[in-house]
């Protein structure tokens, strides 16, 4: 740390750039907020950063009042924090293979620079630069968003800026009147070095990678147009990997809200099912007639409904042929999202529900006869279709928002989570555009969902914990949801179910027990298929093969629970896998391979609960608050700790040892560095030795005060012990004075071999010896 005199400045000129930098920080973070995480995360982050800034500002200004200024250390520190995001980006690319757009990194660099300058803004030299950088941030942030909160922050910043400029004006006026002028201005050398640096940079650019040169005209790398592509770019004209809102002529799909619609030749949902699970074998009509144990009149009803549902309303057989090795159409869209899900995952997106099971095939639930229950509500000038009659106080908690970004899904059914309460599609403000597909599934009154459409959904996430002490068995829904096929081995399955639930109380614990057994004892094997003549797939799965694809798990769970008296149904749809969550775009792509089957159990009051029997699949839990997040984080950390107990134990023991002997270790390292560095000029060697002794004395608890000269301090220190040390101190103090203050042309003090003397000092005044000095009065 260099020492300079402090100059008192009026409080307003010092504190305002700090305030302006904090406002700029809040503005930038608010402008960058994309909704992927709770707002309180951003608030906590910005709050902590602001507290740290204010604390550092106060600390530094107090040090400054005592004449201690960062001096030459400031510039490297500021540059360091400015380029820190770029370094972290390199690390992030290397470790996690994720990245951020360059403009975001540059913005983060400027933000860091503004924070650092704000901490040092008590010095006039950094005061104005800080304001300029924060102004840039404000302008940038206000350009990238039109958010009302951001605009109000811009007004706050403008007010602070005007006040600060007034203060500057009065200061300069006062300086002119009194004939004094500020001495600590922005270093003039930068006025020459910065333009020079930029000129050199531009001149050297053609020598660098061609992408750099081609990207320079636009200053930012693009995702195309110049034969280069940056996977992290957020804008451009080519078909980069980033998701770009189309404005005029869209050439790629993107899960963004836009007015541009496109034709697509991608396969429909049922093409996806068949490619995923294989096609059902052709059946004889006689077998089908026998297999279905339906209530009188229901079979015909089912056929009617299938005719209405067009392609989507097909029945689903649990006996399927082996999947072809060469998928037909999916090759083109493999790895391409069918839709994107914004919001928390995992998420079960329901497309169709099945209630009747004949041992082989599930038949879709009856089409809804409901004509009401869909109402239009305008929320903030946005049309929302409200869905009534799905609230259940026992299972519902907070409303959960999700966004679906349809890419190439050929259906008019809206994939939605259980407990759907609201739908919003931009500019769609007519209720008659929506119809009931099934009792709990909404469709659009058109051939298919418009592609490249953003659908906002609002649903109530079910909380299973609230059901633990409730009896849901009494919540009878209807006979078709408790229907059991006649040809299955009911007694064995019932005894199996009873064996699994044991003496558990009736209600949700029994459901959990069944799910736990299925998830732990049975193997998910997507390629396993029972014999084509198998007429009881559930028994075959539960009692014989104990393996199978997800629809067999769902069927088994539904059948087992029906044997225990619960109303269940099987649901098909999509599963938004949290492992596929894209941190960069804050979305989860749902691909053709994410089609999934699961079961639902009736919990009363017209409400169902998702039950997931397939291993590796999870159900979305209700949103956690701050406390819940903390508990979850601690639990995850403890789990991680248990898995790596050996490594952490070793690390802990090593840390304890290092902490316990940290001073000795630091002394050893410092002495080693002192020894291995080559002996340069004698003066440097003396000063390095003095620094070593000072460091040891600091560790020994007898630090050297800045107000004392080193030579006097050494003499006073060594005077506490024997004469030999005093002589050594006297000789060394003479050498120190010579090294530090003698003119360059003065030779070494006579009778003092500097290297030998320094080595004697380092050898004699060890850490242990200096600790003895401390104990002597």
């Amino acid at each position: 740390m260099n020492t300079k005199s402090s100059s008192a400045k009026p409080l307003r000129a010092e504190i305002l750039p700090l305030l302006m930098a904090i406002v700029a920080l809040i503005t930038v973070e608010s402008a960058q907020y994309s909704g992927g995480q709770p707002r309180w995360h951003v608030a906590v982050k910005v709050g902590l950063l602001a507290i740290v800034m204010v604390g550092l500002y106060r600390g530094c200004s107090q040090f400054g009042a005592n004449g201690l200024h960062p001096g030459r250390l400031a510039s490297p520190l500021l540059i360091g924090i400015a380029v820190l995001p770029l370094l972290v980006e390199v690390l992030q690319n290397w470790v996690w293979q994720t990245g951020n757009p360059l403009e975001v990194l540059l913005l983060a660099g400027f933000r860091n620079l503004a924070c650092g300058l704000a901490v040092l803004s008590y010095l006039p030299a950094y005061n104005r630069v800080c304001s300029v950088i924060s102004l840039f941030l404000i302008v940038f942030a206000s350009c990238i968003t039109g958010d009302l909160f951001v605009q109000s922050l811009v007004i706050v910043y403008a007010l602070c800026g005007v006040w600060w400029l007034m203060g500057l004006y009065w200061d300069s006026l006062q300086a002119h009147l009194t004939g004094s002028s500020s001495q600590n201005r922005f270093p003039r050398r930068f006025l020459f070095t910065i333009p020079l640096f930029l000129i050199v940079l531009v001149c050297l650019t053609p020598l660098a990678a061609p992408q750099v040169a081609s990207a320079l005209p636009g200053f930012m790398p693009t995702s195309g147009g110049n034969q280069s592509s940056d996977p992290n770019a957020r804008s451009g004209v080519n078909d980069g990997e980033a998701l770009v809102p189309a404005t005029d002529q869209a050439r790629s799909f993107g899960p963004v809200e836009t007015d541009v619609f496109m034709e697509s030749e991608q396969p429909s949902l049922y093409d996806i099912f068949n490619d995923m699970y294989g096609e059902p074998p052709k059946k004889k009509n006689t077998k089908q007639d026998r297999a279905i144990a339906l209530p009188p009149g229901l079979l015909q009803h089912t056929h009617d409904r299938m005719a209405q549902q067009k392609k989507l309303g097909q029945q689903f057989s649990t006996v399927r042929s082996t999947r072809s090795n060469t998928p037909k159409k999916l090759r083109d869209i493999e790895g391409t999202a069918v839709l994107y899900v914004g919001g928390r995952v995992p998420l079960h997106l329901r497309m169709e529900t099945f209630d009747i099971f004949d041992g082989v095939e599930w038949f879709p639930e009856s089409p809804s006869a409901r004509t009401s229950g869909l109402n239009l509500e305008i929320v903030g000038a946005q049309p929302w279709i409200r869905i009534d009659g799905l609230e259940n106080d026992k299972v519902s908690r907070k409303l959960e928002p999700h966004q679906l970004k349809i890419i190439n899904l050929r259906t008019n059914r809206i994939p939605a989570p259980l407990g759907l309460t609201g739908i919003h599609i931009d500019k769609v403000d007519r209720v008659d555009m929506f119809r009931w597909a099934q009792e709990s599934i909404v469709k659009m009154d058109r051939e298919r969902l418009p592609e490249l459409t953003v659908i906002h959904l609002q649903s109530q996430t079910a909380d299973a914990r609230m059901l633990e002490h409730e009896s849901i068995r009494k919540s009878i829904r209807g006979p078709q949801f408790q229907q059991l096929p006649s040809q299955i081995r009911s007694e064995e399955i019932r005894s199996l179910a009873k064996e699994w639930v044991g003496n558990l109380p009736d209600g949700w614990p029994r459901v959990e027990a069944i799910l736990a057994q299925l998830r732990s004892r049975y193997l998910l094997d997507r390629d396993y298929r029972p014999a084509s003549n198998c007429r009881d797939t559930v028994s075959e799965f539960l009692l014989e093969s104990k393996r199978g694809p997800d629809y067999v798990f769902a069927s088994a769970a539904a059948v087992l629970l029906r044997h225990l008296g619960y109303s269940t149904r099987v649901v098909s749809g999509f599963y938004a896998d949290p492992e596929k969550f894209d941190r960069q775009s804050q979305h989860t792509p749902v691909t053709a391979t994410d089609v999934h089957f699961w079961a639902e159990v009736y919990v009363g009051q017209n409400s169902w609960m998702t039950v997931e029997a397939t291993p590796g699949y999870d159900v979305l839990s209700p949103p956690r608050g701050i406390w819940g997040s903390l508990v979850k984080a601690v639990a995850l950390f403890m789990q991680h700790l248990r898995h790596h107990l050996g490594s952490y134990s070793l690390f802990f023991v090593a840390s304890v040892v290092v902490c316990w002997r940290r001073i000795e270790i630091s002394d050893w390292v410092t002495t080693l560095l002192w020894r291995v560095r080559p002996i340069a000029q004698p003066r440097c060697y003396v000063l390095r030795t003095l620094a070593l002794v000072k460091q040891r004395a600091r560790w020994a608890g007898i630090p050297h005060s800045d107000a004392h000269t080193a030579s006097r301090w050494l003499r006073e220190l060594s005077a506490r012990l024997e004469q030999d040390n005093l002589d050594l101190a006297t000789r060394f103090s003479h050498v120190i004075d010579w090294a530090a203050y003698a003119p360059p042309h003065l030779e070494t003090p006579p009778r003092n071999d500097v290297p030998v003397l320094c080595q004697m000092v380092a050898k004699e005044w060890t850490l242990a010896r200096l600790r003895q000095f401390k104990t002597h009065p």
């Binding site: 020492t3 005199s5 004449g67 800045d706 107000a707 030579s711 006097r712 003479h734 530090a740 003698a742």
Partner: protein
């Protein structure tokens, strides 16, 4: 080739030896006050003037006379009273009837060592007569300038406890002094030694042989002025001066003239330690007597303020 210590040719060694002899002689004259004598020598070699503030009978005059004897110059003493006139110090012109012209009769300032006893009893008019002599080593009488000896050295005394009929020295005059010292009572052992020495002195006359020739003193003073001061030390001095100007309990900080005096005193201190360059120790060692004479300190214990000042500024 120059070295870190002052060990050049024999001339400089002789000079150093002579200064050491002066120091020894003064220690004989004023026993048990080695630190005071060191400061007196610093003041002498720095070509400054000395203000001694203490009670009567503590050896102020003895010290001044001993110094005058040692450096081989003329010694003059002025007992300052309210009726003392400027011409009593500077000298005056009288008409020589034989030669039909005015003759200048030099006053006591035309000596090498001038003791102005109880200077604060003189009127401001008389005090100001000393200003020109102390600052410029010359006096102007009847519009004619008369140069003083190059090694002209003023030791002024004042009694702090007598306030009646005194005229406190103005800041402008105080700034002309390089240092202010207090002799103080000697230690018990030193007083016994002094009593014993008084008996010995009565048996054998004390030597009053000069130890330094005037030209030799001038040479040493010039050598002191040439001792290099590193840039960090000068920066340290300036920071100390700034700290004194910004200190809340100091109404008058160090002036640029005071800063020059301080640097010269530090050079003299380095010379007395036989060192060819100045260190922060030298600056700190002479800080108290240099600052106490010129700082406007509003508290009764100026020493502690000056020590506090030294503690607040980091050493380079």
């Amino acid at each position: 080739m120059p070295t870190a210590t002052l060990s050049p040719p024999s001339t400089q060694q002789q000079d150093l030896r002579a200064v050491e002899q002066v120091r020894h002689r003064l220690n004989q004259v004023l026993r048990g006050k080695a630190d005071v004598i060191d400061k007196v020598l610093v003041c002498l070699l720095a070509q400054g003037h000395l203000l001694v503030e203490d009670r009567p009978g503590l050896g102020k005059t003895t010290l001044a006379k001993g110094l005058a004897d040692a450096i081989g110059g003329r010694f003059a003493r002025v007992q300052c009273t309210p009726d003392l006139l400027p011409s009593d110090i500077t000298g005056f012109s009288i008409f020589n009837q034989k030669a039909h012209e005015f003759e200048f009769r030099p006053g006591p300032v035309f000596s090498e060592v001038l003791l102005a006893d109880e200077i604060n009893r003189a009127t401001p008019r008389t005090q100001s007569a000393l200003l020109e002599a102390m600052a410029e080593r010359q006096v102007t009488v009847d519009s004619i300038r008369h140069g003083l000896a190059e090694q002209f050295f003023v030791i002024a005394t004042q009694n702090p406890h007598e306030q009646h009929g005194t005229y406190p020295l103005p800041e402008a005059q105080l700034d002309r002094f390089a240092m202010k010292l207090s002799v103080g009572y000697p230690h018990r052992d030193d007083e016994i030694s002094m009593l014993t020495a008084a008996i010995d002195d009565s048996r054998q006359a004390r030597s009053r042989e000069p130890l330094l020739e005037p030209a030799q003193l001038v040479r040493i003073q010039r050598l002191v002025a040439e001792i290099p001061v590193a840039r960090p030390i000068q920066d340290y001095l300036v920071r100390l001066a700034e700290a004194s100007r910004n200190h809340p309990q100091i109404s008058l900080g160090v002036s640029p003239r005071g800063l020059l005096t301080w640097q010269r005193a530090a050079q003299a201190q380095a010379y007395l330690r036989s060192r060819g360059f100045v260190t922060p120790d030298d600056v700190q060692d002479v800080a108290l007597p240099v600052l106490i004479v010129r700082l406007g300190i509003e508290r009764d214990d100026p020493d502690s303020i000056i020590r506090e000042l030294l503690q607040t500024v980091a050493v380079p």
